[in-house]
Symmetry: C2
Subunit: 345 residues, 2 copies
């Protein structure tokens, strides 16, 4: 797969004829600079040490931003138990995005068949290879994590009722979504950091408003434009629009949008989600008064925020504005605490 050719194709004219791009795309620049490493697959990139360092420093800033909430820190591998995934109703809304994990469970004869299929396929060019060898792959009991908070609900449910004030949990995970794209901000595998609040409706709505304020504070301290807007998830199929309209009418989802890949369109870099009692009902998570728990989360798209910084402040991290460098590589804690105090967020 040739990246330049593909990018040019994306920029083809209305008649389909390739148009020489006036400037290299942001994706091309990221790859040429070595910040992202092309794997040949759209939406799957390696990250350089510089890129990872920005992600690490952003994570530290987000930790300070939420420290007064005394969250429980939990970390999960990027997969869920399949039955938990099935229970979550993700397949009702986003079947096209999920990734299930399959393995070979056969014997010697099965492996011989598999290798013969594979040998035939490998006579073709990479993009034309027939995946017939995968017909023997059987479903395992694991599904890739679609959003960082999914593993926590069944775990919290098993602990019994929430404490009186509810719970706040801090998670971070690689997530998978099957949406190969040339937009570097739309990866198939990316990291989400989340704070998740479980409690009654009032606690959870207050949490979401606080994080709209705190997320906006962080983004403004990073020298990026702040634009929070009502949003909806990409629900599947013909019925999807109705569900999306309903989600908007109920104001369940807000996003903080920043131009990343180009100036004309904006990318959701943070999201602020109220799930009502959806997860609480599925897993029978109870408040201390016996009522079904409501939940909300704030999600930080770690790659997307990093890409927004690279787009707005340039690919040379050392040349970023002093204030932004001081926030990330200086006394991060003091600057975050000062920002919280000044803004009241």
């Amino acid at each position: 797969m040739n990246t330049m050719t593909e990018t040019a194709a994306l920029q083809a004219g209305a008649d389909g004829a390739p148009v020489e791009p006036a400037t290299p795309s942001f994706r091309d620049e990221l790859i040429a600079s070595g910040l992202l490493i092309d794997t040949g697959e759209n939406g799957l990139y390696g990250r350089s040490q510089v890129f990872e360092d920005v992600v690490d420093r952003l994570n530290a800033a987000i930790t300070h931003l939420g420290a007064d909430q005394d969250p429980e820190v939990l970390r999960f591998p990027p997969a869920l138990r399949r039955t938990d995934f099935e229970d979550s109703e993700y397949l009702k809304n986003f079947p096209q995005l999920a990734g299930t994990i399959h393995s070979f469970c056969g014997n010697d004869a099965g492996q011989m068949r598999l290798l013969r299929c594979l040998d035939d396929a490998m006579k073709q060019s990479d993009d034309d290879r027939d995946p017939a060898w995968m017909e023997q792959q059987k479903p395992t009991r694991l599904v890739l994590t679609p959003a960082a908070c999914y593993p926590i609900y069944p775990v919290v449910a098993r602990r019994g009722p929430l404490p009186a004030g509810g719970s706040t949990i801090d998670v971070l995970s690689y997530c998978f979504r099957h949406e190969p794209s040339l937009d570097p901000a739309r990866m198939q595998m990316f990291r989400q950091r989340e704070y998740v609040r479980l409690g009654n409706a009032e606690q959870v709505m207050a949490f979401r408003q606080m994080w709209i304020d705190r997320g906006s504070l962080l983004v403004s301290l990073l020298g990026l434009p702040v634009d929070v807007d009502l949003a909806n998830d990409p629900f599947f199929g013909r019925g999807g629009k109705i569900v999306a309209d309903s989600q908007r009418a109920q104001e369940l989802k807000f996003e903080l949008l920043i131009p990343v890949a180009n100036a004309d369109s904006k990318t959701a870099c943070l999201s602020f989600n109220y799930h009502m009692d959806h997860f609480g009902g599925i897993w029978k998570i109870k408040c201390d008064d016996g009522s079904t728990a409501h939940t909300a989360c704030v999600g930080f798209g770690m790659e997307r925020i990093t890409l927004a910084l690279l787009k707005h402040h340039g690919l040379d991290v050392n040349a970023w504005p002093d204030e932004v460098r001081a926030l990330l590589w200086g006394d991060t804690r003091a600057r975050i605490e000062h920002g919280l105090k000044e803004s009241g967020a």
Copy 2:
């Protein structure tokens, strides 16, 4: 799934009758202490903040241990391009361990069928659910990373010949292996940190010997027993024993083994692997003189080393020996540099 029942079953007598375990298993202790979080699926655990802090500190120690090698730091998501995975010949050796990623690619009618299958399955108990809804899942172009170094070979190959001294690369990734187990040291998803050396045979063999010495140094500084032994990979099928014998005869793999789950058996916590020109040949990685590159790697099992520490020094990290605490949470760099100087490793 009931963990206690399963653990008891593992400890069943020869006649299959359950035997009351004299003491809780290490797995039970890890879960009861909250260091690992049970997901209900063998080999898939959440990690507590304390567990993750140990992993982070180990990673810092490993960074200092390799700093004088000036490695290139690259980080990849936990998946490979499928064609690269196919090229790697992993399916010849370990088809049973690989995890391929599949997605739903159908339309509204397909989703309706999927949801009907799923509704039927959900009438059963978790363990009896029929995964028939997954029959519509189609292979994607991604496969889960089986070992942290796999993504780098095709990337390095595309850069052209290696520099004169060869290359050293630092990688870290979650890896997947389909081997559900009650042994907490045998996870389905776990992190490997690796240094990978690419160069001529002499450079690569010197690297491996250096890392046998440095890995042993780290483990002794951690207050753990050092036992390095010749080893082989778990090659699949009837022919697997022949390949394993050949690997041993050629002394391609060594492991550093530490008792983890119990005192009677040892777990490979580090491995030291010489691939000869296997990866170099597949991806046509060339040395500066045009010869095919040889490769070797040292792999640190991050969860396994953490579990070894918890087994040998106790579940209360604050009560670990002073020397171990000083290494991990004190001046890690100075202690590692001192250890390297003293040992000549």
